[in-house]
Symmetry: D5
Subunit: 147 residues, 10 copies
Amino acid sequence: MTILEITQKLLAAKKAKGLTFADLETMIGRDEVWISAVFYRQASASEDEASKIISALGLEPDIADELTAFPVKGSLDPVIPTDPLIYRFYEIMQVYGMPMKAVIHEKFGDGIMSAIDFSLDIEKEEDPKGDRVKVIMSGKFLPYKKW
Amino acid sequence: MTILEITQKLLAAKKAKGLTFADLETMIGRDEVWISAVFYRQASASEDEASKIISALGLEPDIADELTAFPVKGSLDPVIPTDPLIYRFYEIMQVYGMPMKAVIHEKFGDGIMSAIDFSLDIEKEEDPKGDRVKVIMSGKFLPYKKW
Amino acid sequence: MTILEITQKLLAAKKAKGLTFADLETMIGRDEVWISAVFYRQASASEDEASKIISALGLEPDIADELTAFPVKGSLDPVIPTDPLIYRFYEIMQVYGMPMKAVIHEKFGDGIMSAIDFSLDIEKEEDPKGDRVKVIMSGKFLPYKKW
Amino acid sequence: MTILEITQKLLAAKKAKGLTFADLETMIGRDEVWISAVFYRQASASEDEASKIISALGLEPDIADELTAFPVKGSLDPVIPTDPLIYRFYEIMQVYGMPMKAVIHEKFGDGIMSAIDFSLDIEKEEDPKGDRVKVIMSGKFLPYKKW
Amino acid sequence: MTILEITQKLLAAKKAKGLTFADLETMIGRDEVWISAVFYRQASASEDEASKIISALGLEPDIADELTAFPVKGSLDPVIPTDPLIYRFYEIMQVYGMPMKAVIHEKFGDGIMSAIDFSLDIEKEEDPKGDRVKVIMSGKFLPYKKW
Amino acid sequence: MTILEITQKLLAAKKAKGLTFADLETMIGRDEVWISAVFYRQASASEDEASKIISALGLEPDIADELTAFPVKGSLDPVIPTDPLIYRFYEIMQVYGMPMKAVIHEKFGDGIMSAIDFSLDIEKEEDPKGDRVKVIMSGKFLPYKKW
Amino acid sequence: MTILEITQKLLAAKKAKGLTFADLETMIGRDEVWISAVFYRQASASEDEASKIISALGLEPDIADELTAFPVKGSLDPVIPTDPLIYRFYEIMQVYGMPMKAVIHEKFGDGIMSAIDFSLDIEKEEDPKGDRVKVIMSGKFLPYKKW
Amino acid sequence: MTILEITQKLLAAKKAKGLTFADLETMIGRDEVWISAVFYRQASASEDEASKIISALGLEPDIADELTAFPVKGSLDPVIPTDPLIYRFYEIMQVYGMPMKAVIHEKFGDGIMSAIDFSLDIEKEEDPKGDRVKVIMSGKFLPYKKW
Amino acid sequence: MTILEITQKLLAAKKAKGLTFADLETMIGRDEVWISAVFYRQASASEDEASKIISALGLEPDIADELTAFPVKGSLDPVIPTDPLIYRFYEIMQVYGMPMKAVIHEKFGDGIMSAIDFSLDIEKEEDPKGDRVKVIMSGKFLPYKKW
Amino acid sequence: MTILEITQKLLAAKKAKGLTFADLETMIGRDEVWISAVFYRQASASEDEASKIISALGLEPDIADELTAFPVKGSLDPVIPTDPLIYRFYEIMQVYGMPMKAVIHEKFGDGIMSAIDFSLDIEKEEDPKGDRVKVIMSGKFLPYKKW
């Protein structure tokens, strides 16, 4: 199965069961964003996590294998995404990339925020002037090694 | 003055004064990331904010004008940034773009997180296994208008 | 079904019924451009709107589901479009982008015209020297938030 | 003088005089967007219009020549603009390009909206929920010639 | 049917009938280049022209519909063509683009040669030193509108 | 001197003398487009032609050398030009590239139209419905050699 | 049949027959590189050459037609090839392009080496320090025409 | 000094002395193409070769240092060259890349022609039908190592 | 079979047999990275190596042919890879490319490290602070030939 | 000072002193590749390291500041490097990227080799068949965090 086929199968089963990612978070014990990343094959599940996902969705066990594999990640097309929701993250990087670099270097020194030892949460902030999307990224600071 | 010259002048003055962005946050009453964005001319200060920044840095008043202008924003070069710190945000978008889209749509419906009615904070999380960079984005949800 | 297949199915049904987008505007109570955007899966219909569209076109109900989903938007290929009609909008952005930026900033301050809280109408202006296409865009002004 | 230098000279003079583009519209008898396009050297003035602009801005006459030349137009850099205000017009083309093509073809037949025999107005729509930017484009429909 | 399939079907029928584009010019009363553009779906035929083409090629009538549609035009892949014959036109634009711009502006003022109100003929010039390809383009001059 | 500087010097001298390219055609005995190509350093003059051009423009003899050199040709920037006048030639190649290829192959066999053994003329066709730009290209047909 | 299918069919037949391109050179009377170019549909065979190739490979006659057509040429993907053998030719152009231009202009004047009236041979030079690949290109010099 | 400045200085001195690259070949004992590559800083001279070049050109000794450095090589701009003479080598790679790969693999096995242990000669073949440019490349065959 | 199909068939057989690349290294007598390169068709096996691989995996003999062919190599898509593991090698080249060039030139003179006469090993270094990936590349130094 | 100016100043001083990077390794107590990375401003020195470098090179103390800053890293131009030495690392990634990914995942699980907690050594392996360049990379394995 291609990644696209796996994703569509999982999304269809989730819809048929009437489950949200938040429901899956409760059932599987992992964050909804991480579970969604497994759906899009950007994260790999352990065998145990894969069985739980499969069973929550009522799918046949043989698809579990697909969820534990380590696929090629990061496959937005084209390289500068055109979907408005995803593009805004590109724009944030364009507009706030240098300011963030300046502040992170000042607080931590020369290094980066890891995108691997990393988690990402999405919360809904209710607000009378219009609800807000809150995205919280937490990545380990990795200082440049000298040798 | 080009944007690059303005930025370099501000950074040099800040270094000469021995100030951090966090110090400026206290002195000016705006978040350090936003102030850094003004330094890189990705955000525009009011006249009052510009005077405060100029005075904190001990610069001549005539540069204040430059900080209230509305320059062309978003100017990383090349379009896929090569600086490792900034690239990680591109990678996060590549890897977690579709999962975030799925979760945001599920929580909010068809629309986007605004990158304009938006704030971004950076915090240092102390952690015995290595400190963590916490990036908190908060953007108004904008539902697609129908007409 | 892929987006392309959905679009072709809808366009074929519309042609078979001899309907124009203007007819659909009357039948469904939404603007013809917005309805066309639903056809190309750039806008999402509510369940009620989807049923009306399906029924107007004489299609089976199960395609309604496809019209309420939130697909990846913005998929012209290549990134600089080569179709002459669509390219002209790229050219307008190239030629009049900076002038529009200057005038909008002067009238509104630092911010943008929303492309989400946004509507777009197309009218035919009869003119003895040759009819004119009138495109009217209306987007909420979003001022940059400071924090 | 390069185009950039001309633009900066004109903008500085306009600022020094405290004039808006709307003021210039009144003084020169041309739309403010078109005048702004002359500032950015995307439109060419007649000798008469150039003198009026120069005189309104209090500049020396020899710059008038620069405003009547026909420079290379369309020079956003990079090809997909990163400035959020200008990018939204790229996004509109990406999202609504095909729907607009469908509606324009249905109303007019095979052809395009001219970007040359073309005008563009920007209006401010006051709205209690937030002011709106109204962009009105009017271009002659050009049907494909057969031969 | 995709555009590629339509083109291949038309070319195969033309070959089977032993017809040249010049023969079709005589039979249909349109220039051979325009007819070839219809084959590649870069130009749209009227219903009458479509029937004549279909009948000249001995094809079933239901393909006529495909020839009257308005497809997305301009689809060379990649954006800088690699086919040597087509590339030469890119090269001509690269080498002679600015000189042509200078001469056209001098003769006509600020504006463009239309590529819509446009015709293109190809003639064979016999020459003892080697035959020559003559390409004659004729496009309406469109002056920039002021407003 | 850079190519840009040479071009600007020549254009300024031509303007100061009040000469058109058509005037230069008469004075120098070469086509105006070819002379314009020398101005933009896309064509190389012989020493005799260079002296005639220099003398017609009233320039010092030492610039003649620059006109006989063989510079790097074809330097539009970006690779898909954004100037509307020049872009139309890109569009013609996109839309009519394959139809031209089909007709040229049919008339001449496998080969190309040379862009080197090549001439290009621009004529003004007066027309009550609007004057037309006529571009006539003539290139030697080069058949593919077999070996 | 697509070009890829034709190429694969020819290569499979050649392998099944145990023939080298050098064998085909002997049998068909054309150079092995040119024959290989026909296999990849970058060169067009005459009807006679096509029959000889078909018969040498033991293929059915109806594929001969495919070898006499004039396909779109030059289709390496991506535009800067990644295959190391082919890339070296790109590297040679990058490193020696300007030096070759300088020497060719000095020997021949302003013009180019034709890639159409052109042949290319590959020879194996035995060498105790390691055999060498010899590539001999011969193209007609085409001087720029003046007009 | 930048590479461009070095090249221009060398070319100017060569012109002033009235020397051809072929003359330099005789004086320095290296091939004219290699010497031209040193001029464009694509090849590095030994100290002895550098002195000979400097002395042949009548330049001051201190430029010799520049000719023995190892600069960044391969710097055509843009990545697909637009100069017609240089582009033809790109076209040859596009059209004959796969055929050459097939023949080289058949003659030598899996590996490449080195572009480092490599020489390139340019000869003028006189021909009554038009002189020909002969380019002879000789590169060591490098078989892929297994490990 | 396409390369993708071959790779998937080999990986599936390896998984079914429960073999690691390290196991295959022992069975076949070639390094695990090289064997993996054969799986992805970036390296070519001899007939003997191909039989050993096929037999170790329990596959039918006819696939052996596919492993001895010389396919087009280097096919990451897109050209700047987005998979985080592979991207890090691009980043290393971006960050350490010039420093490596400086050190290699200083140690060896003008030339390159061969990527053909080349081997690459991957080792696991156990480390209490977190295991390390060790990548050892060994390529023959190739000095630039002069001629 | 720009990065280019700093690099050139450091390289010139190193040349004037007749020092190699290996000499600097001994004098400063850091690896020669890391020191070279400081020269190209891809690594940041501590104040102590900066003084040692400055003093070893006999430069004025005020340049030390430049070596402790955290500049934008990774700035090869163009994005696919054309310098043959650096390109080989791109080629290695293209050819061996997927095989390395497969072997690293098998040995370590889902994660990456860090390019930050990373060192890179270059050694000269003497070999009678030609010396070899040995590049040893050592990066911490970072497993994907789940959350």
